[in-house]
């Protein structure tokens, strides 16, 4: 209940500080003045696109507060209820799934960022034999279709007894997270001026010292964005989670949500409530990081 209210709040909060910007810049409008018709068209288009973007999640939110019998009514909440939430939290494995997901996702993010940081730095700064192939490997493994790894990983996990274990899923997610983090962080380290390295070198720091004491603190926003993106990606992963985690108490959220609506029955009310609880943390993390994300992703993209 308290958590669900975060979604509508974040949007106005985010737009509030920026709202003053257009007012300030409105006066010296440089390029061709826009006629009223063009302005109307522009706003209509943007408004329509925003509405389409916002409607499905909003409808999910609205539906989650309706009693089960009215899940499909077109009316906005007539009989407000939080029954769906209490049912999901109290009578299903939802909290277990949430715990499993948190373990897997936090584990993946921490290990991924930790392992990949020095590599991102090395390929951003040094030229060394084997660097080009390594960069290729990093780039290519990120794009590996899950279909090519899922069967061998499944069999390996099965023979190691790691199916239905969070550790197994963490290892699996690292196949994507490690190359991604290294690549992303390379982009961030590229934005830190090389002069800083050189001044560190002049002061007698080893390459590791330079990295640890000078560069890493400067690249902290980059680390945060990388970590967050890994978090969101792992939080939303479906295929591996569905294949590797079976049995109701072992599922992660991606698997758990599927149990509400499947061949055997559809409990749309519970599904919407669970979906809202799953979406909120991801959306909040996303909201915090999205400002940096633009810079980070384009830096990674243009310098690829």
């Amino acid at each position: 209940m308290a958590a669900t209210e975060t979604t509508p709040e974040t949007a106005p909060a985010k737009s509030a500080p920026a709202k003053s910007a257009p007012v300030k810049t409105a006066a010296p409008r440089r390029r061709g003045e826009r006629g009223p018709l063009a302005a109307f068209g522009l706003h209509a288009g943007l408004l329509a696109a925003t509405a389409v973007a916002l409607f499905p999640p909003l409808w999910l939110l609205v539906t989650s507060f309706k009693p089960k019998s009215e899940s499909f009514s077109t009316a906005v909440v007539r009989d407000f209820t939080v029954d769906n939430y209490t049912h999901v939290v109290a009578d299903t494995y939802f909290l277990t799934w949430l715990g499993n997901s948190l373990i897997v996702v936090v584990g993946t993010t921490l290990v991924g960022v930790f392992i990949a940081a020095t590599t991102g730095y090395a390929i951003s700064r040094f030229r060394f034999p084997g660097m080009r192939p390594l960069m290729w490997v990093l780039l290519i493994t990120q794009m590996f279709p899950m279909a090519v790894l899922i069967v061998p990983l499944y069999n390996t996990m099965a023979s190691l007894g790691l199916l239905n274990q969070p550790v197994g899923l963490i290892i699996t997610y690292l196949t994507v997270a490690v190359p991604f983090c290294a690549w992303m962080m390379k982009g961030f380290f590229d934005t830190v001026p090389v002069d800083i390295d050189e001044s560190g070198r002049v002061d007698g720091l080893t390459p590791f010292g330079t990295f640890w004491r000078l560069i890493l603190p400067l690249a902290r926003p980059g680390l945060a964005v990388t970590g967050f993106y890994t978090f969101v990606t792992a939080w939303a992963e479906v295929a591996y989670a569905t294949a590797f985690m079976t049995g109701e108490e072992n599922l992660t959220l991606a698997g758990g949500l599927q149990t509400f609506v499947n061949r055997y029955g559809s409990d749309w009310g519970s599904m919407t409530a669970a979906a809202v609880i799953i979406a909120v943390p991801a959306a909040v993390v996303f909201g915090f990081a999205q400002r940096h994300l633009v810079a980070g992703l384009t830096a990674g993209a243009t310098k690829a």
Partner: protein
């Protein structure tokens, strides 16, 4: 670069520094060092290389190790599995306390021959191509249009921007369920709205054609925010003076868009299109969760079918699924190589 600062005169590796045709140049450089190394005593040469580069190698060692173990080994194993007749009944497994060893046999290229000789593969491939091209094309055009609109000085710009990015901030599988609810044939909101307008219910997920439309629509909805963000970043990187100069010279809006905006977006958009193509080609959750590949397999793409072979069908056919996986990888690699060639021929340094 930093290496040069510390080690002083060392021309060989620095040569690749400015080389734009990095791939081949770098490769031959490595071979060069090898050959000269063998001439002048391999151990001394290697020792010098180690003392010069050891910290760079130490820094990348964790990633190299991890990738080797969790990507390299499974990849090789996957290729091997695709050459066997492994299935649920003969792979190594643990049942209770009993540990059963693997008993599958090497069968050579049998799996590939039977896959490529079967229309199932080609049907799926055809739809996968349509799906990928459709999704990427529509997403790109929509994303670019909206980014250009957002890049203007428009009141409430940040509200629009945040609103449009929302679908990206929500886990895809959650959004897919939201859409599934809207698409519901009997009671879904879309059909109720159509009904209000006097239009018959559309079997969104029950009819092959509409199911295809539905999955593409949902995937576009999911993909547009990323496209907007990437394009906005690129648009903001185009210097405003260019537009002013063009306007002085009397260029109209369309000319400015064609001759300044589009070329300015090329570097980013070529990367973004490549990425979205690969993502869409591999997009599992949308199709798996929305239609499960149905109705009658009409929306099944290669990736979801490979998943079905090993995890949904019974008995689970690991070998064939692995072969599908390898084929998917080959197709994607081919696409990437061709795409990059095409870009390079147009003078794109990438």
């Amino acid at each position: 670069m930093a290496v040069e600062t510390t080690t002083g005169s060392r021309p060989a590796p620095a040569a690749g520094d400015g080389g734009s045709t990095a791939g081949p140049g770098r490769g031959s450089g490595g071979g060069d060092a090898d050959r000269t190394g063998r001439k002048s005593g391999a151990s001394g040469r290697l020792g010098r290389a180690v003392s010069r580069y050891w910290y760079a190698w130490a820094m990348v060692a964790p990633v190299v190790g991890v990738i080797g173990v969790i990507v390299g080994y499974p990849l090789l194993r996957g290729v091997y599995l695709s050459l066997t007749d492994a299935d649920e009944a003969n792979v190594e497994r643990v049942i209770g306390v009993n540990h059963l060893p693997a008993t599958y046999k090497f069968t050579g290229l049998d799996n590939y021959v039977s896959i490529l000789g079967d229309s199932v593969f080609w049907d799926r491939l055809g739809w996968t191509v349509v799906w990928t091209a459709g999704c990427v094309g529509v997403t790109f055009v929509l994303g670019l249009t909206l980014a250009v609109m957002l890049n203007r000085q428009v009141r409430g710009r940040s509200f629009y921007r945040i609103g449009m990015i929302v679908p990206w901030g929500i886990p895809a599988f959650v959004s897919v369920f939201a859409w599934k609810m809207l698409f519901n044939e009997k009671n879904g909101l879309l059909n109720q709205v159509l009904d209000g307008g006097g239009i018959d219910a559309v079997p969104w997920l029950g009819d092959p054609f509409w199911a295809k439309v539905a999955v593409i629509a949902v995937n576009v909805w999911l993909g547009v925010p990323f496209m907007i963000v990437a394009m906005l970043g690129a648009l903001q990187g185009i210097p405003g003076e260019l537009y002013e100069a063009a306007e002085m010279d009397g260029a109209g809006p369309w000319q400015r868009f064609r001759n300044i905006t589009l070329p300015g977006l090329r570097a980013v958009s070529s990367t973004v299109v490549l990425l979205s193509t690969i993502w869409t080609f591999n997009m599992f959750p949308v199709i798996y969760l929305l239609t499960r590949g149905g109705p009658e397999d009409s929306t099944e793409i290669l990736v979801t079918y490979a998943f079905r072979l090993s995890f949904i069908n019974s008995p689970r056919d690991f070998a064939t699924s692995a072969a599908w996986g390898v084929l998917i990888l080959v197709l994607l690699s081919l696409f990437t190589v061709v795409y990059r060639r095409a870009l390079r021929r147009q003078g794109e340094v990438w």
